[in-house]
C-alpha cells in the first residue's frame, strides 16, 4: 500500500488531485481511498488531502501519519515547516517550485529524495491559470508510478470535460520536466 499526503490551500484542488488518482487506481482494478482533512473549508487556508492506493482491500480508516510521498501544490507552503512531518525514511517530497532541487531541500530542511517542477509556470502556460493540482500529478507519477498516466485520462475527462485536454497536456509536461534528486 502506498500513502500520499497532498498539501495545498483551499480552492487549489488538492482534494480533486486525490480523487482523480483514486479513480485512476480503481479503474486499474486496484483499491484506493481519497479523502480531505475533514473540516469546514475556506479558500486560501492551508489544507491536506490524503490518498491510499493498494492491490489489496484497504481496511484502514486512520488519517495518514507516515506518508510514503508528500506532494506540495503551493510553493509558499514549503517553508511553513510541516510539509515533511511524518514522511517515511526513504520517502519522496514532490514540490511545486521554480527553484532548483537543492534550494527546495534547503527551504524545507529535507535531505531525502526530492522531485521538483515549476508547476505554476506550466499551468499558466498550458491552461492560463496557476491552478497546479492536475499538473502536479505529472510530477507525482514521475516520482512514483503509482498508476499509469493513461489511467488518468478517463477521470480527467469526466471531471473537466472540455478543458480535460489542457489539464492532461499540463500533466504530461510536468511529468517530462520534473527533476528528481535522491
Amino acid at each position: 500500500m502506498i500513502e500520499v499526503r497532498f498539501h495545498g490551500r483551499g480552492g487549489q484542488g488538492a482534494v480533486t488531485s486525490c480523487e482523480l488518482m483514486a479513480q485512476a487506481a480503481i479503474a486499474e482494478g486496484k483499491y484506493a481511498q481519497a479523502f480531505p482533512s475533514f473540516g469546514p473549508e475556506r479558500r486560501g487556508a492551508p489544507l491536506q488531502a490524503f490518498l491510499r492506493i493498494s492491490d489489496e482491500p484497504i481496511r484502514l480508516r486512520e488519517k495518514i501519519y507516515e506518508p510514503d510521498i508528500v506532494v506540495v501544490l503551493d510553493t509558499a507552503l514549503l517553508s511553513s515547516g510541516n510539509v515533511k512531518d511524518g514522511l517515511k525514511p526513504g520517502g519522496t517530497l514532490v514540490a511545486n517550485s521554480s527553484k532548483p532541487v537543492a534550494d527546495v531541500r534547503g527551504e524545507c530542511g529535507f535531505k531525502g529524495r526530492t522531485a521538483v517542477v515549476d508547476a505554476t509556470k506550466i499551468a499558466e502556460e498550458e491552461m492560463g491559470v496557476p491552478i497546479t493540482n492536475t499538473t502536479m500529478l505529472g510530477a507525482l507519477l514521475k516520482a512514483a508510478a503509482v498508476v499509469e498516466l493513461n489511467s488518468l485520462k478517463a477521470p480527467l475527462d469526466a471531471r473537466f470535460g472540455k478543458i480535460a485536454a489542457k489539464n492532461l497536456k499540463s500533466l504530461e509536461r510536468a511529468f517530462k520536466e520534473t527533476q528528481i534528486e535522491e
Partner: protein, 391 residues
C-alpha cells in the same frame, strides 16, 4: 453485473436511493450529510430521478414531511446527522409508532457541545429508543448495499418499520473508494415498488396518529415492540436475498479471526476496519486477539452475539459515545446486561474512544488490548474509561 467505480460514499448513498426509485425526499442539509441530499436534489432537478424533493426549513419538518409522505403511500427517504437528528427527535418515535417504512441515512456526527462537525456515535446513541430498525455500515459498499436493503426490509408487511442506516460522518461520507454499482435491473428484481398495507387516501379515508387512552397505550407499544423483535428474521431473510442477487452477504454480527482468540474487540461502524488491520498485526506478533463487529444494533441480535464471543476470555468493547452518569458506555451497557442474563462471567473492559472526530489508530487497539489483559490479570475492572484524555 454492476460497474466498479471510484465514488464518494455520500454519493453512493444517494445513488442507492435513486436505484430504489424513491418517491419523496424531504431533507435539510447538515455537515457531513450535505453531499447526500445535494446530489439527490440535483438528480431530481435534472430529471434523473422521478421524485418529489421537498426542501424544508428544518429537520423537524423534514421528518414530519417524511411521516406525511410515507403515510400517503410514497417510498420516502431522508438523511441527517447530529443536531439535525436531535431536532427530529419527537417525530422519530411517531414514525415507528405509525409503522411507516421511512429509510434514513444518518451520517454519524458528534452532538454539541462543544460544537463538533466530526464523527462519533453520540447522535444515534441519543436515539436508541425510537423503535426504528438501526444498523451500521463499515465502508462505502456497505452504505450502498444496506441503504438498498433498508427499503426492502422496511416495506415488508411483516415489518413496516422505519430503518436508520448509520455511516460515519467524514470518515465514510467524504471518502472516495471503490463501489460496485448494481444495475437498475438487478435492483428492480430485488426491490419491487412500494405497496403500502394502509395509507391516507381520500377514496378510502382512515386516520393515523390517534390519541391512545391508558387502556390501549401499553398494547399499542407491545404491538410495535413485537414488530421490531420479529423484524430480526426478516432482516436476515432480505440480507440473504441480497447476497443471492448481488453476491455480498451481510450478517447481524460479523466475526474476524475469533477462532482461538482470548481477547475480542467489539466494534460498530467504520472503526471496525482499522481494528481488523490491528488484529492482523497483533496476530502476526503471536497475540490471540480477534474481533466481533456489531452490524445490527436494533433489534439487538443477542443470540448471534453470544455465539460469536464463545470461548473468548475478555471483550474490549468500544463505545463512540458517552453515557454520562451511567455505569458504562451505551454499547457496553447493552452487552453487560445481556451477558448477565446469560450467566456469562467473561471479562469486559469498556473504552469510550474517537469522540468528536478524534482519530482511532492501530496503536490504540494494541494499547487497549494490553490494558485489558493487564487489568484482567490484576483483578481490576475497567467499567468505563475515556481513552486518550489529555490530563
Amino acid at each position: 453485473m454492476g460497474q466498479r467505480v471510484g465514488l464518494e460514499v455520500s454519493l453512493a448513498c444517494s445513488e442507492a436511493a435513486k436505484l430504489a426509485n424513491v418517491d419523496v425526499i424531504a431533507a435539510y442539509p447538515i455537515t457531513p450529510q450535505t453531499h447526500i441530499v445535494e446530489h439527490l436534489s440535483e438528480l431530481v432537478a435534472d430529471g434523473d430521478l422521478d421524485a418529489e424533493f421537498v426542501p424544508v426549513e428544518s429537520e423537524h419538518t423534514a421528518m414530519s414531511a417524511c411521516v406525511g409522505s410515507s403515510a400517503a403511500g410514497a417510498r420516502t427517504f431522508t438523511s441527517t446527522a447530529s443536531q439535525g437528528l436531535a431536532l427530529m427527535h419527537e417525530i422519530l418515535f411517531i414514525a415507528s409508532a405509525l409503522r411507516l417504512p421511512i429509510v434514513m441515512a444518518v451520517a454519524n456526527r458528534s452532538l454539541s457541545g462543544p460544537i463538533s462537525i466530526w464523527n462519533d456515535h453520540s447522535d444515534i446513541m441519543a436515539e436508541r429508543d425510537i423503535g426504528w430498525i438501526q444498523y451500521f455500515a463499515e465502508n462505502g459498499q456497505e452504505v450502498l448495499d444496506l441503504t438498498l436493503a433498508a427499503f426492502k426490509i422496511a416495506e415488508d408487511k411483516r415489518v413496516l418499520l422505519p430503518v436508520a442506516v448509520n455511516l460515519d460522518g467524514f470518515v465514510l461520507t467524504h471518502v472516495i473508494e471503490p463501489i460496485e454499482m448494481p444495475d437498475q435491473s438487478e435492483v428492480d428484481a430485488y426491490l419491487p415498488s412500494f405497496e403500502p398495507q394502509q395509507k391516507l387516501d381520500i377514496a378510502h379515508p382512515i386516520s393515523m396518529g390517534m390519541v391512545g387512552m391508558p387502556e390501549v397505550y401499553t398494547e399499542a407499544k407491545k404491538a410495535c415492540l413485537d414488530a421490531l423483535e420479529k423484524s430480526y428474521s426478516v432482516i436476515r431473510e432480505h440480507w440473504d436475498g441480497f447476497a443471492k442477487q448481488f453476491g455480498r452477504q451481510y450478517k447481524p454480527i460479523e466475526s474476524y479471526k475469533t477462532e482461538g482468540a482470548d481477547v475480542l474487540f467489539v466494534t460498530m461502524g467504520s472503526l471496525g476496519e482499522t481494528c481488523m488491520t490491528a488484529v492482523d498485526e497483533m496476530r502476526a506478533q503471536g497475540l490471540k486477539v480477534g474481533q466481533v463487529r456489531i452490524r445490527m444494533w436494533r433489534p439487538f441480535p443477542a443470540d448471534d452475539f453470544m455465539a460469536a464471543i464463545k470461548g473468548a476470555k475478555s471483550l474490549v468493547v468500544m463505545d463512540r459515545a458517552l453515557q454520562p452518569g451511567a455505569v458504562s458506555g451505551p454499547v457496553a451497557t447493552e452487552l453487560k446486561s445481556l451477558l448477565y442474563d446469560k450467566g456469562q462471567s467473561i471479562f469486559v473492559s469498556n473504552f469510550v474512544i474517537g469522540l468528536g472526530g478524534r482519530d482511532v489508530t492501530r496503536a490504540d487497539f494494541a494499547n487497549m488490548a494490553k490494558k485489558t489483559m493487564e487489568a484482567q490479570s490484576a483483578g481490576k475492572e475497567i467499567a468505563c474509561e475515556m481513552w486518550g484524555v489529555k490530563e
